[in-house]
Symmetry: C2
Subunit: 488 residues, 2 copies
């Protein structure tokens, strides 16, 4: 595909997220952007493909955190080389302003004239040509010093979004049928009466959370409206993030003010502009809004996976390999995952967030991650755990290799079920084929490796009084991970 836009344009994809709204399909460590909601690609894959229409892959920067980075890198492996310097890892999410600030500092250093298009990784946008046109208009205004937002024409009296009211007298140029305006005012999430009024008036737009500006402009505005945050970010910008310095970086980062770019800058700046756009957009903020973007069947249902239904309508049923049987549902959401199931009416799907907060307070592991966890070398799935044992299926990609490691408190038994395992155990190295097995006593250095071109799968049975992922001493790791990074 020909990329014909501004040579100074960069894309900054915000890929953090708390994973609460699409729970149990999303988790704190596996948020919405990693889900395949519509089409073949996950949301972050779609976002990257969309962005590639306006910038090459080596001008994409992805801001995320260490817990989500493995999964994201695995999903974006197609652009592994181009993206290898493109990741910024936040030690902890501090809302959008710090993430955007740190990306801006990095970009001005790389290109003083950098324009940055900032967007969340987990929105659904349909209409790539219109998206490209909007970015093109945005670039023009950004070069003129504006902080550009993209406004979506409301289709319903939505109370879940902020609105942008343009100053219609202050038009800022027109191109390919689109024009921009200075912003008259930003409106926080309105009540229903107000939302209805805005919909009727027609000159109010949903705030899409997509922005475009010169990196230098946004930093000037940080200096004006968030000077302390900017100082903190500048201090961090010089810091090393590897080895022991990582902990210091994290400590400093967590001290940054947690503030959104909207509240911190956009609503205060005199340079805010809005470009009303005409691509189809949804932030699919809850299960209930899924059918804004996913096609329904004749009865109004959205069903995926192993579902058997009798006479339901207007319902969303997400299953996986387990069987989900439904009878006579109306307007319901049923989401099944290997370790947790959600059932609620669509009208209550905003409250999933509350439910996940309860789980988090209780320390329920189901809020945090899936039973399948992705790693740079592949993935593992916890099949069962009980007193003194844990059973995992471990998948190692061709050429993948877990770290050379040792456990103090558990032994492991490995049975190969597919492919070939190259096992290092103490000073021995040997290969195992399906149906063959070996045992790794505690306190024994070992490594698991897939030397072949087919996927390796093993069943691992752990035994011991303590089976936490943090009982690991890592001697060598292909993926440069820190000493205590969990499993493999």
């Amino acid at each position: 595909m020909r990329v014909v836009t501004n040579p100074h344009l960069y894309a900054v994809i915000l890929a953090g997220g708390s994973g609460t709204r699409f729970w149990p399909l999303s988790r704190e460590r596996f948020p919405k952007q990693l889900l395949q909601i519509i089409g073949e690609d996950t949301l972050i894959q779609q976002t990257v493909r969309r962005v590639l229409r306006v910038v090459p892959a080596n001008r994409i920067c992805i801001v995320t955190n260490q817990f989500q980075a493995d999964s994201i890198q695995l999903q974006l492996v197609e652009w592994k080389e181009e993206l290898k310097d493109g990741f910024i890892l936040e030690p902890e999410g501090r809302n959008t302003a710090p993430a955007i600030g740190i990306a801006a500092l990095r970009l001005v250093r790389r290109d003083p004239d950098a324009l940055m298009a900032v967007m969340p990784a987990d929105h659904v946008i349909q209409g790539d040509v219109k998206f490209k046109a909007a970015i093109s208009v945005g670039c023009r205004l950004a070069q003129d010093g504006y902080l550009v937002t993209f406004g979506i024409r409301p289709t319903r009296p939505e109370t879940g979004y902020g609105y942008i009211h343009p100053d219609l007298r202050a038009r800022l140029g027109k191109r390919r049928g689109l024009c921009g305006y200075k912003v008259a005012r930003f409106v926080e999430k309105p009540n229903l009466a107000k939302a209805r009024l805005y919909l009727r008036k027609g000159n109010y737009y949903w705030n899409s959370g997509i922005f475009l500006w010169r990196a230098s402009t946004i930093l000037e505005e940080f200096a004006k409206h968030l000077p302390a945050l900017l100082r903190g970010l500048k201090a961090l910008n010089g810091m090393d993030q590897s080895g022991d310095a990582a902990r210091q970086f994290a400590t400093q980062y967590k001290k940054l003010k947690s503030v959104s770019i909207d509240y911190g800058v956009m609503e205060r700046s005199s340079r805010s502009a809005v470009v009303p756009v005409d691509f189809s957009w949804s932030d699919i903020g809850s299960w209930g809004s899924l059918d804004e973007v996913v096609p329904r069947d004749k009865k109004g249902n959205v069903k995926t996976g192993n579902v058997v239904d009798l006479e339901s309508r207007d319902s969303i049923v997400f299953a996986d390999r387990r069987l989900v049987a439904t009878i006579g549902l109306t307007g319901m959401v049923v989401v099944d995952t290997p370790d947790a199931t959600l059932v609620c009416p669509k009208s209550r799907s905003q409250d999933v967030k509350k439910l996940v907060e309860i789980l988090k307070r209780r320390g329920a592991p189901e809020h945090l991650e899936h039973v399948t966890v992705f790693r740079p070398w592949g993935s593992y799935t916890v099949l069962e755990q009980g007193p003194g044992y844990k059973v995992k299926r471990i998948t190692v990609l061709p050429g993948g290799r877990l770290s050379l490691q040792l456990h103090h408190r558990r032994s492991e038994q490995w049975v190969v079920i597919a492919g070939t395992a190259r096992v290092t155990r103490g000073s021995e190295v040997f290969d195992l084929r399906p149906g063959e097995s070996t045992g790794i006593p505690k306190e024994t250095q070992h490594r698991l490796e897939n030397p072949k071109k087919e996927v390796l799968e093993i069943i691992e049975v752990q035994n011991g009084p303590y089976l936490g992922e943090d009982d690991i001493v890592r001697y060598h790791d292909d993926y440069g991970r820190a000493q205590k990074h969990p499993t493999g």
Copy 2:
């Protein structure tokens, strides 16, 4: 407890059942009687305890089939000795008349004056003293040659039960506040208008499916109303059920007429009587009727297992170890099991049956049995299966021992996670402790045994091109099971 009733009284517990109505908690091979619905005991355990108030355990006869027998025997292990000759295994369910007929033939042989109290294994009855009184009155009438039914006073216009209308002019004796009547007529499941009429009139009773008669009387009535069936049953009564004869027995049994005792005998006989009783009774015929017997919480919910709920009411949520999260449900049923989940409104819970029929037609394994299957030596749970492999957790009770066996097409790897495994492999015998493992190549005789007093648990990983339970050659079995009986 003192058993003070008739020395000729025997109890016949009908423990077949198709396992459809309480799916997915019940399965074809694990029907409702095996479920713990209310209280500490399962329904069949409750039924046996109730019956023990009127007969000793060695006068209990349980009619079931080979697929359910292991699970039932495991649940009734407390009375293992007394019940050892008490089981009648039907090769296939042929409705109630054949099951009752074969039990009657066996009882008259044992005691020509035998009275038999016949009841399903899966009803909930509260009020043991009242139950005992009813049986006492029933015995009197049975000795006088009546076919006694027990009638339940309706509490709602139920369309799911048959009704019995007594002939109030033909009173048959009174005892402890109860009396019997000759039956004027049996009414099949009525429509709602009729059900309302019966409720208003007050002299119509639900047919509880509990009966009492002399074994010789019911056989006389078989001779009159079901002569062909009786001949078939008599032919079977002399047949051996062990070894090769079992197949012949099964073939003959399957030729018997499938007919209910109500339709085949009771509705046609002039000797039918009814004793209106005052114990609380429910056949809990569907999930929706569960809250007739199980206490609801303040919001009208019945919840068990790992459930996190926000603001639901009048709902039934059954979870197990997996997390089930519910928000804002009203009048819903959610039932979660390791391999299948059901979601439906209470008002549609009668249709669970239809759904299970669909699953059965599709050959879905979830209609047939649970991932955990009970055996005389313990149980196994399928944790996962995929192409070329299957992972099981196997539990062996103290002293339990699987058969000495061999598989042609799969190898097995065993890892002990609790207890001590005594392994026979070819000519070797050795013990394994937690964290130790061994491999059983295909075509190798092997046996797994628990020699200790604590439970043994192992993880078994099977590998091979065919992993069906029927790839087994059995050389010796402690439990006298047929050559091809699945697993262990």
